[in-house]
Amino acid sequence: MRLLTHNMLSSNVKGVVNGFPLRLEASSWVEKEVEFNADFLRSMFPKIDWPALAGAAQKIGYAALPDTADATMLESEDFLKKFHHALLEIHVEEGALVCPESGRRFPINKGIPNMLLNEDEV
């Protein structure tokens, strides 16, 4: 699971109002090179919740992202490279995503988050 996906997932438990961002608990992760595409990053930037991305990256020891970001930073190649790395090149293999409101844990096994709910949670 890439941090891009972490940024796109929110708690789907019935009754939860504020299910984003899910708190990332990662016990293992890998880095895989992905071809850099500045256009993609620029078009994605408005869709990304920056604090959620920076926070998740920090959880796995990647502290290079600034706490806040705005569109003017997209002119910096250096910024884009870091954005790219955090968003696409870090894969969480094992861990969990935790609902900030209910505390419900969604496990991540072998890189696949499990968002399935029990009957009483739907």
């Binding site: 996906t5 796109m8 299910g19 071809e35 993609f40 919740d49 988050p113 499990n114 399935l116």
Partner: protein, 325 residues
Amino acid sequence: MVQEEEAEKLEERLRKLGVDEPMVEDVKEDEADDDDDADTEGDKETIANDGSKQSRSEQKSHKAIMKLGLKPVIGASRINIERNKNDMFPRGADIRLVSGHPEVYEPCDDSFALVDALLADRGNLLNHKARFCMEIGCGSGYVITSLAIILGKENSGVHYFTSDINPDATRVTQKTLFAHGVHAEIINTNIASGLQKRLVGMMDVIVVNPPYVPTSEEEVNCKGITVSWAGGHNGRTVIDRILPVVDELLSDRGWLYMVTLKANNPSQICLVMRKKGYASRIVVQRSTEEESLLVIKFWREGLDDVNDGNITSSSLGFGSWFGRK
């Protein structure tokens, strides 16, 4: 620039393969033998485990896919090439490579029809410059892997998401994708639960081969492989859950390709989507002895120009559209 070259190469390869043929196909099983270019080494074993033969367009798309670099390891029952006739377990050799699972639906006529539809619409798809694509219900991963190969790998800046409610299917899909050097973010979830809020309006292409077989409603709630086909009343229960989700996820220029069965009342599905503002057309139509399949493409009305000038449901009026071939 690299992308354009790749796209050109793709076009060239596919031109050679003769895939630029009519969009709407109606292949009957009894026509399956007359394919004059069928006998490449890749097609020595065209008998599927269920005993039926591949139709012409299946063979064609399989060849196209294989030329695009898909190794003959998935869909072992249909694509398997070097099968030992004495092998008691003919699928074994291939499954070891990519992993199969008794609870995961293997690619079959419906999967092939969907990939054929993507190939038939390949020119439009390449021009579409999709940023995000998604498959809802990935099963073995055959379709999302094929889509990723058709559109080119990530060097073209396309990113893929895929979901399945069956955990075993997500594992098999992961292996299938990996074996072909492509990547999709896989989420084990019901339809797009958990993704719906944040991915609203972001998908440029969604492909769905839904559980469309008419069954009891009880079967819809079963686990394991049953969820891959059990469609409830008229095979519409799950389809009718998927459609509003797709509507949310699709971008303004987004396209949906969906497999349906005649028994699903596809004209009524098109009407439902039309009320949400979508035009539609049949990309592939295929009748086998068992079932009559349609792959329908949906897009938001007013964007007809991207569809090769085909007459659409919106311009023809529904009844006349649906009656045409």
